[in-house]
Symmetry: D2
Subunit: 174 residues, 4 copies
């Protein structure tokens, strides 16, 4: 059982599309998965779910509890301003600490409209996840100029699909 996280709250995001495609890839490998889409965070999330309100937002708590139960994560990470979306870190800041991610395992996929492919985003996230005690799989595919790799909401570029499949297969065994 793997939890895939679409790491932006932008509506109808490419990240969401890639998350869905990753789910299909896992399905082909006979692995069940759930998607957590940050688009569905409550709109008053930054005041209702952080700090003194940690754990009190009834709309967010099911997601928070899911994160505590889940053991393996795939983060689909679009590059915003040279790093990960702020909302992703805000989401992490709302999880129960310590313990939500400790000893767990994750993989990452980086997306960008430009040529960096989220390389810095994934480097920063690796620091954060390791700090929180979560192991990060080494292979982190970078999908650069991601729109050019897609058609009709799906990645059609063969080489990119191959890299995602290889990662998914390796992550199952990680």
């Amino acid at each position: 059982m793997i939890t895939i996280i679409s790491s932006t709250n932008r509506k109808n995001s490419v990240s969401k599309q890639v998350a869905l495609q990753y789910q299909e890839i896992l399905q082909e490998l006979a692995i069940e998965s759930t998607i957590i889409d940050l688009e569905h965070l409550p709109s008053d999330f930054i005041t209702s779910a952080l700090y003194e309100n940690q754990g009190t937002n009834v709309d967010f708590n099911p997601i928070r509890d899911h994160m505590k139960e889940a053991q393996k994560f795939v983060f689909i990470v679009p590059e915003y301003n040279g790093s990960f979306p702020g909302i992703l870190k805000t989401f992490l800041d709302a999880l129960e600490f310590p313990g939500t991610l400790k000893g767990k395992k994750c993989a990452m996929v980086g997306l960008s409209s430009g040529i960096q492919g989220g390389v810095m985003a994934m480097s920063h996230l690796t620091d954060i996840f390791n700090y929180l005690g979560m192991h990060v799989m080494a292979a982190k595919p970078k999908l650069t100029r991601v729109n050019g790799l897609m058609e009709g909401g799906k990645i059609t570029d063969e080489s990119s699909i191959r890299r995602l499949k290889d990662q998914a297969q390796a992550f199952i065994d990680f």
Copy 2:
């Protein structure tokens, strides 16, 4: 004229206290400053001020415009989960791109309750700011175990005050 940013939306934060003290330090050096306190971001910020709603939030637009006009920034950055607060990056994601920070200059101060002093937070931010075209001053004081350095809402530790003053003086000339 310098803009000091208290980089969390936690209420009554230590960052806000340090921001106020930094303002006093600048005052002693005859430099005017304003504080932008992320505590005052609209609570529906993550849906009302990002992506397709960039620039349409009348409560946030004055801050957004201020960021465009300002030329020099001091970021007071508390360490959350091994990096900067998610809300700070979300705030940056809501600024006009490109151009808000390009060619400008900033300094940073890191705070932590633990022993890292925000060192990774400031490293990640430096990557982001450089990506956005903003120069970062080399000296980045790290205030570790910050609560132990303060009394009555103010840093009283002589060595920490000295480092902030040295940074402020150097930043004026940067």
Copy 3:
């Protein structure tokens, strides 16, 4: 079988001492290990073992071959100038590429005479190892002001010893 790397060529280094102590910890856990001490790199290493001379240095080739065979590594990493020792990266640049580290696993211990404990060194190394396809264990103990933790060439600080033992145990299962 674990390979411990003392990541500096400084003579009689603290890293070497910690490497030896780590070996003892592994021994207590019934795990065999070897130490590669960068102190023993040939002195003309930078001209005789890199680039067009990759693989031609008969003094270095046994180490190079060992790195190819080994599957699990513990890097003892002293902090030099805010990152890892240059010699460690030079050593990595002399390994057969690609493939020496791909799919393998490592853990790291950071050492510093100051208060950072090699945190940036280990962040940079994690980027490099992940790039090369090697998984990095999340827990990365930071031994700050390391000389104060030692007596007679051994770490005597209980809490530090505990962290190394916990890491070693976890790394065996990683």
Copy 4:
């Protein structure tokens, strides 16, 4: 007066070619420059110029002294194994500490045969230089697939030349 550093000791490196071209660009802007080419480091550098031998290598000392005198640096940084060349950090480890780089200014150009353009190399270096007290200019051109941008030992790609010229001009005023 600017010091350009060709950051590898590989013979006849692309970095050296780019360093020479950067020197021409500066010349057109009426700025004098010197090139330090790490190819010329003594071959026993790692034993004769570090640690207890810091400052005792008569072949290296002129370079070491030059670094102490110089105020502005441009680092031409090829990407090796996902970061900077180990020899560059070894070179930095042989400089007088503290003080060689403190309060000085630098710019960087990243080169890669692949698609990263040295982005991680320059991120790591920025951490190191800031730690040592040297300011880093925000703009860090990344020359990806650099061989395809060159002909006869010179960058001929117009857009790349433009970015180097813009950087050089901005660095003069930095």
